[in-house]
Symmetry: C2
Subunit: 370 residues, 2 copies
């Protein structure tokens, strides 16, 4: 008893980071990456209006941000045709998932996700003592039937599902998701992560129903809006659910310039449309590059593409290592059989030229090594 | 069981905000404040170099920030003559206090603070089910002997103490704090909040000793560095204590521009010296204004001054209300007898002219009303 006493739970947790950032990898390799295609950032950046808004607010950064994010929430409510009380803004979806885990998870609670889905959700659930029940993917899709079955069987309080999915980029139709929700027990809360929804084709985004108490949807300015470094995410849900965040969140956690930037970005929907087209073009380019190397891709509804390297995870890891050590930051799925793939974010044309040049060399080096 | 099931603890918590922001008050009154002197923001702003750094990074905000804050922590470690492993960066001291509460507080744990000290600490402790034991102030100072006695008596895991203090602006000498630490049981962790330390005179800041396992110090770019809206705080402590944050923090919670701004701000210590002088001048001005109205002030080592309105809390509240409703945002202590005061942040000369004009009217209106 001679040292500070941390909680029992904390002593059981590892010091871990859900993702090693590219900056850390750059320090290890002693050089910056030539192309940054591993974190599903939107290389095209945010609306120039958002950049201008952030720059303007930088000089008044001495002021705390409005802890209620009133203006941004008002604009988001209008955008989604809901009330301001249906929206909470937080430090990225990561931050909001942390709050959600705290709101729901007690030690020993069984929580459902897909095996190989977003590790930051797992990090938060484990961090509150939850026990993760991981449902395997099915044909590179999150398995809605499997998730439902697991949720019912374990009487889970919380199930996580991302649509579009990360890391595979696959989707389920709005109808399929609605059917899932209709069958989900009311006492089980669905965390529907829609981080990549702005890139998805029509027919994927479920219409928003804030009367539904057991569905909470997560959106972000990190992907479609190109503002990952700003840390602005939000959740949409029933008033009574959203209100729970007020009990525990870091009310003064939001950056003032980021809020102003998000507001300006939201108002420039033409830019989002423009980006959507850039991303579609980029996905096709990645598909062409894969095809030119005799590889197939997993059709993607996001700003990244999983390329099937055609062999096992050892091979894919070798390809990844070659790319990373030769200046292209990419990542790959964590779990078999998805880890036969590498995951490549859409880049600028110059990024993809580098990738097109390096991929055959990576494949050749990996083939001869194995 | 027909609704989502939140934790038992959550159901017992109120939906609350530690501080109502000035923007909310502005919406209620239907007009913006003429002077913003209530949140102890640094109206002089950050170093122009910090503003320039944030503006430059705004255009690359599509990139996530380095989740290890390597560059900023390296610079901070050098600044404080410690190792990078002794520093964790977070979303303001508020965010870091939340992490600390999570690391330490289990339901029913008794935690020590001063009655009327920083409410956000209380918010987090309560949020994790801790029971607050509040030690009264003594002569408008946090009572070190009282805090120590309470910590020992309750075998507290955690004690909070701010030096300089908020809301009174008073300080204890480094020697007094060292004596407190020397007598504190090893198994009790001290959260030493030094948010205002850059404004304090020499002899207040304790030398940094990261060998000490049960002292963790909190610093921020919000006050002396003038970047409240950026949300950059940090904690300094023993390696083994700092490492605990890695188990639970939102690794991708930091804004990229904010980190760059903080780094530039830290490197411009001339600006901090300049601000320190501005603040000293402003404190004197507030003292003169108080004196001209027959009031005394509590000598302050911060960027705000508590003015003793000379009567009870009802009177002080009336003075505060008058000021707020007439366009000057100020706040006041929450607890008797400190709530005989109003708390005024140092403002620009034009802010203080407005205050000097309005204060006698506020006093007169409050006198005739009571």
């Amino acid at each position: 008893m001679s040292n500070p006493r941390f909680t029992k739970l904390l002593s059981q947790l590892p010091a871990t980071v859900p993702f090693v950032g590219p900056e850390t990898q750059e320090r290890v390799r002693g050089a910056v990456f030539d192309a940054r295609l591993g974190a599903n950032e939107c290389v095209f950046g945010p609306s120039p209006k958002a950049v201008a808004a952030m720059q303007a607010v930088s000089s008044e950064i001495w002021k705390y941000a409005d802890p209620t994010s009133f203006e941004l929430r008002t604009a988001l409510a209008e955008h989604h045709n809901v009330e301001i009380e249906n929206i909470v803004v937080g430090e990225g979806i990561d931050g909001l998932l942390g709050y959600l885990a705290r709101m729901v998870v007690q030690e020993g609670d069984e929580i459902i996700t897909s095996d190989g889905a977003y590790p930051t959700f797992n990090y938060h659930v484990t961090g509150y003592g939850g026990i993760l029940h991981k449902v395997p993917y099915k044909d590179d899709h999150e398995d809605l039937d499997g998730l439902l079955e697991a949720a019912i069987k374990t009487d889970a309080k919380l199930v996580y599902f991302a649509n579009p999915d990360n890391p595979m980029g696959t989707v389920h139709s709005a109808e399929a998701v609605q059917a899932f929700i209709d069958r989900l027990p009311n006492q089980c809360l669905l965390a529907l992560d829609e981080a990549y929804i702005e890139f998805a084709p029509d027919g994927i985004a479920l219409s928003i129903d804030v009367a539904k108490l057991n569905v909470i949807r997560f959106r972000t300015f990190s992907k479609g809006y190109g503002m990952a470094g700003a840390r602005v995410g939000y959740a949409i849900g029933a008033t009574d659910v959203i209100l729970q965040f007020e009990k525990i969140r870091n009310h003064f956690g939001m950056n003032r310039a980021a809020q102003a930037g998000a507001l300006a970005a939201l108002e420039d929907q033409d830019w989002i449309e423009h980006i959507h087209n850039q991303i579609k073009y980029g996905r096709d380019r990645i598909g062409e590059i894969a095809q030119a190397n005799g590889l197939s891709i997993i059709p993607s509804a996001t700003n990244f593409v999983a390329i099937d390297c055609g062999r096992d995870s050892i091979f894919a890891k070798s390809v990844l290592s070659y790319l990373v050590s030769h200046g292209i930051f990419v990542r790959m799925p964590f779990v078999t059989p998805q880890d036969r793939c590498i995951r490549v974010s859409v880049g600028l044309e110059e990024d993809l030229i580098l990738f097109a040049d390096l991929l055959p060399k990576a494949l050749e080096a990996s083939s001869s090594a194995s």
